[in-house]
Symmetry: D2
Subunit: 319 residues, 4 copies
């Protein structure tokens, strides 16, 4: 008797097809051949995960030019039940597209997602006579809007390859200011047990500072430094209750199942009035953390063995 067909896994992502978010999702081997669900914005994507409508959502979390995607950072800080399970990097490059037949010198109104527009503005200033910018909700939506006459668009900023999905012509390529721009995406699932370390991992968390202490941020950072844990990201976000109160979004090298990272997290937990653990997952760049001998798992195990012997009096105090 044949096995019942498996229920496909469902992945939400900022659509439509052709977005950089889709490009990130294409990097996930387990997602191949599963159900991909394009959504309109981050809220929908995370909602799909929280409600169980999707198994996971791919969301942009940081851009090498624009910095943290603050709405995503804030959502991860406040929506309960989420866990980051993977990280992906997508090179960000843009083309300028138009309806077939349009000439660059005729371009007056350009649609573009604000982030994309920011990166292409210098090029547009240099290569078009005084253009106007209309905001689009995604990089692909900008191209789609070309065919909405009511919008009066001449051209759109879009990801490379857009011409394979839509009937547009590429007026210019590589129009973003920084050719090495990259966006970092994370794959988010519901809370699940943490996976095993891959040897090149990252741990994400969000921590608030105690209010009553000057130098509190320094103290927070020392929780990592004294355990030899490097940080790859430290971003502040307003807690929102009043000006001057911040939570910190932190990416640390290593995995929560690495002893030094676990110990740092215990320290942070004791120190911070509110911590959100977001996950430990393989780094997109596959760079292994540099660990000093004194901070590897053996050192932690040896220290615990020593302390036990010392307390029980079975071992000498010297070591």
């Amino acid at each position: 008797m044949p096995a019942a067909p498996a229920v496909p896994r469902r992945y939400s992502y900022l659509g439509p097809a052709g977005t950089f978010t889709e490009a990130a999702l294409k990097q996930v081997p387990e997602a191949a051949g599963q159900e991909w669900s394009p959504v309109d914005n981050l809220g929908e994507a995370l909602n799909d995960v929280v409600t169980g409508a999707s198994d996971a959502a791919m969301i942009a979390i940081e851009n090498s030019i624009d910095g943290g995607v603050t709405v995503a950072q804030d959502a991860l800080a406040t929506v309960p039940g989420l866990r980051i399970v993977g990280e992906y990097l997508v090179p960000v490059n843009f083309v300028l597209v138009a309806r077939p037949g349009t000439r660059l010198e005729d371009v007056r109104v350009v649609a573009g997602h604000p982030v994309a527009y920011g990166q292409c503005r210098a090029w547009l200033d240099a290569h078009t006579s005084r253009h106007r910018h209309l905001v689009a909700t995604s990089n692909v939506a900008a191209a789609v809007d070309l065919f909405d006459e009511a919008k009066g668009l001449d051209a759109a900023i879009a990801p490379p390859g857009i011409e394979e999905h839509y009937d547009v012509e590429v007026l210019a390529s590589g129009i973003a200011e920084n050719p090495d721009a990259v966006t970092r995406f994370v794959l988010v699932s519901r809370t699940v047990p943490v996976g095993e370390p891959s040897g090149a991992d990252k741990t994400s968390l969000i921590a608030e500072l105690p209010e009553d202490r000057s130098g509190a941020l320094l103290e927070l950072l020392e929780q990592f430094a004294t355990r030899g844990v490097n940080l790859t990201l430290l971003a502040s976000r307003p807690i929102g209750d009043r000006m001057g109160r911040y939570r910190f979004v932190i990416d640390a090298e290593g995995h929560v199942k690495d002893e030094r990272v676990a110990d740092a997290l215990l320290g942070v937990k004791r120190f911070s009035p509110r911590v959100v653990f977001l996950g430990s997952y393989p780094r997109a760049d596959r760079v292994a953390a540099t660990i000093r001998d004194a901070q590897d798992d053996d050192a932690f195990r040896d220290a615990r063995d020593w302390l036990r012997g010392v307390i029980e009096g079975t071992a000498d105090g010297a070591a």
Copy 2:
């Protein structure tokens, strides 16, 4: 012989009249009765200052809900020749307005600046049946767009008082989620000599970290901590050359003419491969910094006197 009439000073701000930025500018006594020049965006405002078209520009720098205005932070980090000379706080509240005769239950399409929309979305979700959001370039522009039929708008999110400038009706007041939300503005001029301390000042700077050192952020923060200088803001922004490289936007308590702040800045300057001093100016909240005895100006003067005597041998080494 009568004196020649003085040339009025010119202030650029994100217009049109009625914006929160205008409300900030109204807090500047010296700006009263001078020329106010509304502009479309931050770039124009700063450009007016750099070119000398305006004497100063009022720009939003942080919101208690949304965090730093990253485009403003990045501009201050990279545009040379600017100086922050004042800080102002404007409570941020929103009303929902429409053309006269519109009923709340008929609202389908709502215009709003994205930041404003984010703060009012919960209210809109609760009080309108499934609305759609159209992006506006400013909070006042959203209201103005009500009268552009091509846009097909039903209502707009706008600042309180908008009805005094435009022919709109207020459908609802206080629709923002957080009634205590506030936006922080800074007044920016060309580089000028730093003013005198007011007794309750803030010093803004931007610093990059040396690349070759782990724990570099901790070291940067210690430059302030060892001099007893508290920070009111620490935000990271990508330098932009590659993922993982950040500059830090810092607001420190005190004035560069306070010895402890000057000393901290000297330490930062020696440590950091690139520092931008943005200015020392009176704090909007008029809160004086708490200074320990060991860190007041007298302590710095005494220490210098002591060291001079010690080196010259005119004073005993003990003190």
Copy 3:
């Protein structure tokens, strides 16, 4: 049938009867009625413990005027198998004694232990005409030597009460410079299981610094600071292999069975190439450590529970 008489416990101390060390031993309730064995020096006392000849030894470890008893610190750093089990404070005061009939104005040669002499020298300079000092091996031996004619002594510096043990007359009392001087003693046994916390405890250890790191002492101290553990003593002693290499003698507030102290010790153990745990024992001054909420045992337990839930995915990441 009557129980076999218990074998009495044996305590070694720097004798003879009447020394400050004996006064310290009198403070130990369990030592009352047991066998007290006076010895000539620290080496003998510790040797008695190591060989099992005695159950414990009382040794001077620090004086409020002269500082650490370095020979004791060095012995604890190098002799294996020892454990500090108690701490005692003895006020240190001195009398000047002589053979009956001697007058103060006739005193020319004064015997005294070097430490005692140092504390009484100012008084002797003021109250005798040009005296000479002869070194004695203990404060009581100085008095005993008065009756050894070959030594040619006129007077001796001795502890108060000496006249009850020997046929001497007190020429003057309270001759030490500092009337509040106190000596700190520790009771040392063989390595035994650590006792239970009393609520006001001290933990002693000795740690060497890694050689290859500048700022290593700072890093060592941060192991305590980040866990909120205060130090009551930090003394450096040469390791002895070459100039400039030190080990550090540390007394920390709290008990190794307090979580924050155990955690600090684990950190020290991982960091230091050589650590000697000397014991956790009730403080002589009965001052309880000040502990911040974030560092009490509950905080450690809560943090561990949180981390377990986070890793297993049974608990939400937020806390």
Copy 4:
């Protein structure tokens, strides 16, 4: 007309001729051919300097085996008007000497300075049948005492070369436990202007900690660390008023005329309720301090220039 003969400079040292202190004084080029005045103890030596009886005194400050010479550290902390002007290292080795004709197997009573005896005790235990130790006031005095019949001595611990000064025979050489032992001496003068940096200097100071702050020692050490100044010595000494209060004896790499050292001292001065500057002088080992670019004199000068320009508004804030 011939010049008046110069008044010779006078140097006090722990005598008599043949002591290690004299060996240290022989390393001082300026002392050659001047008047050398042997004294009995440290107090006399420093008193000679304070009163002007001598121009300088050579005193032992640290031994690689026994640690700091605490009486010297305490004297420098409390006697006003002194300045360290040089540092010298003397290898410490011992010979066992006796009156001519004495055989090693007949040695019963051995004279020795306590520090010397401590270093030779293991050898004596191994090579003599049960000897007794008599305390001598200096290493040379022990040898001299051999000829005082009243003392009943058989042998003496003395510095190599003693046989050139006294009629003694060497029974054994190299009897100290550690063949690399070395004693560090400092040359002390009255307070004089600090000399010029030699490129390999040391700066000595003594600092007390503020009472009202936990983590105060950490804060003191950070004054050096944030300026990139390494410490070669950190020793604690009781202030003496009550148990648990310490001052810290510090040797830092570099010269007070090096900007980073001056800046660290200014920080220490502001922080500490009592600082004693003891001097900047060439290191005995001629090892130059390692200085990071950010901490050299140029970096300090550049930072000051930058800050001045920033305040005056003549320079742009960016650098």
